[in-house]
Symmetry: C2
Amino acid sequence: MPRKSSPVNIDPRVKRTRRLLRDALVSLILKKDFASITIREITERAEVAYITFYRHYESLDQLLMEVLDEGLAELMTHIETLAKQSDTSALETEGRLIFEYIEQKADLFRILLKSQSVTRVRRKVVRNISTVFQKSCVPLERLGNQTTIEIASNHIATSLLSLIEWWLENNMKPTPTEMGKVYKSMIIDSTVGAVSSLSAMKK
Amino acid sequence: MPRKSSPVNIDPRVKRTRRLLRDALVSLILKKDFASITIREITERAEVAYITFYRHYESLDQLLMEVLDEGLAELMTHIETLAKQSDTSALETEGRLIFEYIEQKADLFRILLKSQSVTRVRRKVVRNISTVFQKSCVPLERLGNQTTIEIASNHIATSLLSLIEWWLENNMKPTPTEMGKVYKSMIIDSTVGAVSSLSAMKK
DNA sequence: TCCTTTTTGTTATACTGTGTAACAGTATGT
DNA sequence: ACATACTGTTACACAGTATAACAAAAAGGA
């Protein structure tokens, strides 16, 4: 394995090889079923020697993770900044902004959802989104006990992912504006309402 | 392939072989990662010749589908009968009954959710639950246009699956009664409310 | 019970993909 | 220009898939 842990100096050849492998995987995921992708196929498309793959990654999953982590980090910071502006006026446009963002990077999200074949990836994504909402969504913090908050944030995260998945499968048919309204009323408002009614039952 | 299409007479040897293979797969899924299960491993555990697998199934996925279809059919009829009694008094206990049912057959559902690694299986499950709610949930039919109904039923199906998944991962910690309340308020009531508010915006 | 049919077991084989190794060639930074 | 680090070529061992031929065993009807 090349020295990726070295502080600043990264050999340009290493950068190039890794980029070629990532790009090759991305282009293959967009065309084929993920399960049928072979390492040899990736290296051929990347125009790189077969063994070079193993000089940089231990497994196909590791390469996939690296690809997704890049894109996921973007989505997370995007959602996070949106979730912090949790006054009602911002929520009006929050949903629209999310779906406009996804529209821009549709390819990346198709990969992210196709690669749900790897369960761990989906779990990781859900957990990330869940903690973001758990920490930064003010109404959830005020209402409800710990368990209810956990369920609610998990519910928001999985619902958002499923809604995105549905939207992509329907070729992004309803506009981002309409999807934003659906997101606000069906996911955010509904969940906040449910949490408050659930915590009211306990008292 | 043995004659499985013959009307009534199914060779007892065929029945036995298929049962042994299904049971072997189930016991392996409960112990190992699905991706690491090999056909040879299944046949060894089933105490059956390797080639016998291919005399009954074309692929590992096909056997998995058969196993899941059995269990899924049960869940579907269970949910379906519950969804038909959609008066509010029945909804009170509907959620509880679902989670009590899952508690009974926890092993099966762990398989069903572990095997989500195969994306097609998850899609199939979601689609089934979705159409059940779309057809039999009265409030959804009355309110909203076609697209909204599709989104809503998809939302209910995926949310229910995610809630079940969360519950199983937390070792079924909150009681079925509590989960039933969560189900009713966070999934059913919330979605119905969202659909009505969304269709009100359009008019 | 005998006999035909069907299923199963045994063994062998072609094929594909993974992962490792040795050695030669090439690019990088100083 | 030079030592260092990366890449390419070739070869190989290994595991799992999928198929085929033939022998053995079980099922069901006469």
